[in-house]
Amino acid sequence: MNKLTSRIDKERLLLGIAAPLLAVVAALLVTTLVILATGKNPGDAFSDMVTYGFASDSQVYILNKATTYYLAGVAVAIGFRMNLFNIGVDGQYRLAAFIAAVLGGALTVPGWIAIPLIILCAMATGALWASIAGILKVTRGVSEVISTIMLNSIATAIIAYLLQPGKLGQLDQAGTLVSTKPLPSSLYFFSFDTGAAGELWGFIVVAVIVGIAYWFVLGRTRFGFDLRTVGQSESAAAASGVSVKKMVATSMVISGAVAGLIGMPTLLNDSHQFSNDFPAGIGFTGIAIALLGRNHPIGIALGALLWGFLERTTNHLEFQGYDKEILGVIQGVIVLCVVIAYEVVRRYGLKRQQQRVGAELAAQAAAPTKKQEVA
């Protein structure tokens, strides 16, 4: 009996990996066709991507990018596990990074106090911004999809208003860039020097900690069990004694707090100021990565790395005379395929398991009768 159980588990694992793999393969196929259609050689493109992508400076770049993407993926995944679609991660992290940058620019305390303060401030801002959507959903039944989309726009407007010379922004010497007051170098986050390959952002450590915390809280705590219960069946959760509304509000706040971290690697390790060219749209990338990673802490990490890899290598393809839109095509196809593949694999897995259980029980029932016949 144990043997069969372990086989079912192995199969489930296999099915779990099958979906993203299928999606990536499908995306490669479509990309091949697209490159062929433009009259170029896809083989050359792929080999260029691989050689360039695994160069050491590319590796550092990809890891740095993936740090940001990973945090975005986790922020979105927390909502997904609850059946909440937090599209507002985008607005949450931009507003959080902005406020944190303003705070960082104004602080004069030593780094070991200031850096945690900046990070906490970002998390609090993200959480607050997300809580608006959470409260609206709980009290008025407003769909979080709608409210977070609108909150994204509002965040953009607020940042645009405050980030003006004379308000919280200042013009740089060239007179082209408006930014917040730069952080003093004492407030830079530590980084790993990898020599010629560049600097590996220290924030990758924070991302790993967030990933471990995500896994632990969801998988090993009562709170996480309640959260997953609500995600799987609201009615069963209510009957089991979970306050669904409280859970919705709480998970929205946590999702927002993690979203607040997204801008931190860039702010503390790279730009050290919030300017109008601060990376935008990472919240949406996070949605794709959470989907690709199946909301699993390691899956999200793989998704984030893949995204970083694609970005790095397709940038390079442009110099080789390929169209840079290839990136959009690959990413789009991956996301589309992932959604379809998961649903297909999920249904297949459920059905297959039902059949296996049925077969196993039939075998169990048949076993004693056979013995009787022999006797």
Partner: protein, 468 residues
């Protein structure tokens, strides 16, 4: 059944309709072949009329106007269904709704009718009327497949009985030469269980007291509907209080009010001397209420989660599932294994999803889980619905055993034999009120049935004339 109606595809085997081998890819194919299904849960739009409900999705047949009305009238008269095309469905009773469902199927030209547990929601008198309709259909040359757990009904209405157990046909018998006992033995594969409690274990220590529970709801039209009206009762330690009633008369709401999932407008709920009227659901569960929900898929299980996570559901704050704020998967798994063995849950392991178990085994897991936390009060809503006869007997045994150990049980069921057999006290619920009480030792299902339709109130006495 789902395969016959094209909702699922078989792995092997064939279906032959009127001598012709067919394959159904979807319900549309089945309908085209003249197969119609009357579901256990009605699929009607309440705010539309009977006519509108019948033509919905079949507008191409006879349009939506006069011609459709005439056709409905024809069918209704031909089979003695007595359907009024212009009545609003929300005004109809359960039995009438069922007739509308049957008419819907006939309107689409069905020659073979599948009825899935059609009597589960009916009182005995309505069942008789339904059987008259079915005989009418039979006389007109239609084929009826009648699926039921109730042996007496199958014996009285069927011309041929096929017994299915664990997915295989175990026998086909002629009802005229078969007794209910033989049939039941075929179904169980062993001795026949009866839902009878032996000696009374009722004490005079009250466990659950419900006093003046009142719940009203305003519907979309602004009309206030009273769902629970001055409900008061007491269940003592070791007592099973059975509540009879046609479904939809407030039983579900009563259970949800006691569980804290619904907040009544007035009334006091006291468990073991503690007022829990305003306690959240989790506190109520922790203070010793076990809950077997009427809809196990919606309220009792996480279908896509493994069995051991389902064992945690509802008791996440209690041992052995957690210590402090942390889950204890190892202990929970070990305890799931214990439940699986002690309650005879037939499964290859505790890592399979709940969805892959049969209804009976799912229910045994739920019963095992709820019994594993030393409940003081067990709320059992339709505990044996959709459960095979073997599991049914097991579940009855668990309830009886728990009662012996001083548990108070609130039993809600549509199965009158179950109610009469298990309960120490019986109450009848009708339109949100407890309208009648009866002594399960002497009452018959027919007498209970008349109270369930509101025809009788007060204390029901068994009279010899009523006996069939």
């Amino acid at each position: 059944m789902k395969i016959l109606y094209g909702m699922q595809q078989p792995d092997e085997g064939t279906i032959t309709v009127s001598g012709e081998q067919v394959v159904f890819a979807n319900p549309g194919d089945a309908i085209a072949r003249g197969i119609g299904m009357v579901h256990q849960h009605f699929m009607l739009a309440d705010n539309l009329t009977v006519l509108e409900n019948v033509v919905l999705g079949a507008e191409k047949l006879h349009g939506i106007g006069g011609k459709a009305r005439t056709r409905i009238k024809e069918i209704s008269d031909a089979y003695g269904l007595g359907v009024r095309p212009d009545a609003l469905v929300e005004e109809l009773g359960v039995a009438d709704r069922q007739r509308v469902e049957i008419l819907k199927v006939l309107y689409r030209g069905a020659k073979t009718l599948i009825l899935d547990e059609p009597t589960a929601v009916l009182v005995p008198q309505e069942v008789d009327a339904l059987f008259d309709n079915l005989r009418e259909l039979k006389a007109e040359g239609l084929t009826v497949i009648f699926i039921s757990h109730k042996l007496g009904e199958v014996l009285s209405v069927a011309d041929e009985i096929t017994v299915i157990r664990r997915g295989t046909t175990v026998g086909t018998v002629d009802p005229r030469g078969t007794t209910p006992k033989q049939l039941a033995e075929l179904m169980v594969g062993s001795e026949l269980p009866t839902p009878e409690t032996q000696e009374s274990t009722v004490t005079d220590v009250p466990m659950l007291e419900v006093d003046g529970l009142h719940l009203a709801q305003t519907d979309l039209d602004g009309v206030e509907r009273i769902i629970l009206d001055e409900i008061s009762f007491t269940i003592h330690k070791g007592e099973v209080l059975g509540i009879a009633g046609v479904e939809g008369n407030g039983q579900s709401e009563l259970v949800e009010a006691i569980m804290g999932m619904r907040h009544p407008d007035a009334g006091v709920v006291t468990l073991d001397g503690t007022d829990i009227s305003h306690a959240p659901t989790r506190d109520r569960r922790e203070s010793g209420i076990g809950y077997i929900p009427e809809d196990r898929h919606r309220h009792g299980l996480l279908l896509e989660a493994p069995l051991w996570e389902n064992r945690i559901l509802g008791h996440v704050t209690e041992k052995p599932n957690s210590r402090g704020g942390l889950l204890d998967p190892k202990a929970a798994r070990a305890d799931t294994q214990r439940i699986v063995e002690a309650y005879d849950v037939r499964t290859p392991g505790i890592d399979v999803t709940a969805a892959s178990l049969s209804g009976g085994n799912q229910q045994k897991l739920i019963v095992g889980r709820e019994m594993s936390h030393q409940p003081k009060l067990l709320i059992a809503a339709h505990p044996t619905r959709g459960v095979d006869v073997g599991a049914q007997a097991a579940i009855w045994d668990y309830i009886r055993e728990a009662r012996r150990e001083g548990l108070a049980v609130l039993l809600i069921s549509a199965d009158l034999d179950e109610l009469i057999g298990l309960s120490d006290t019986l109450r009848v619920m009708y339109r949100g009120r407890l309208v009648a009480d009866a002594d399960p030792a002497t009452i018959t299902p027919e007498e209970l049935g008349s109270a369930m339709t509101g025809a009788a109130t007060g204390h029901l006495e068994h009279t010899e004339d009523d006996a069939r």
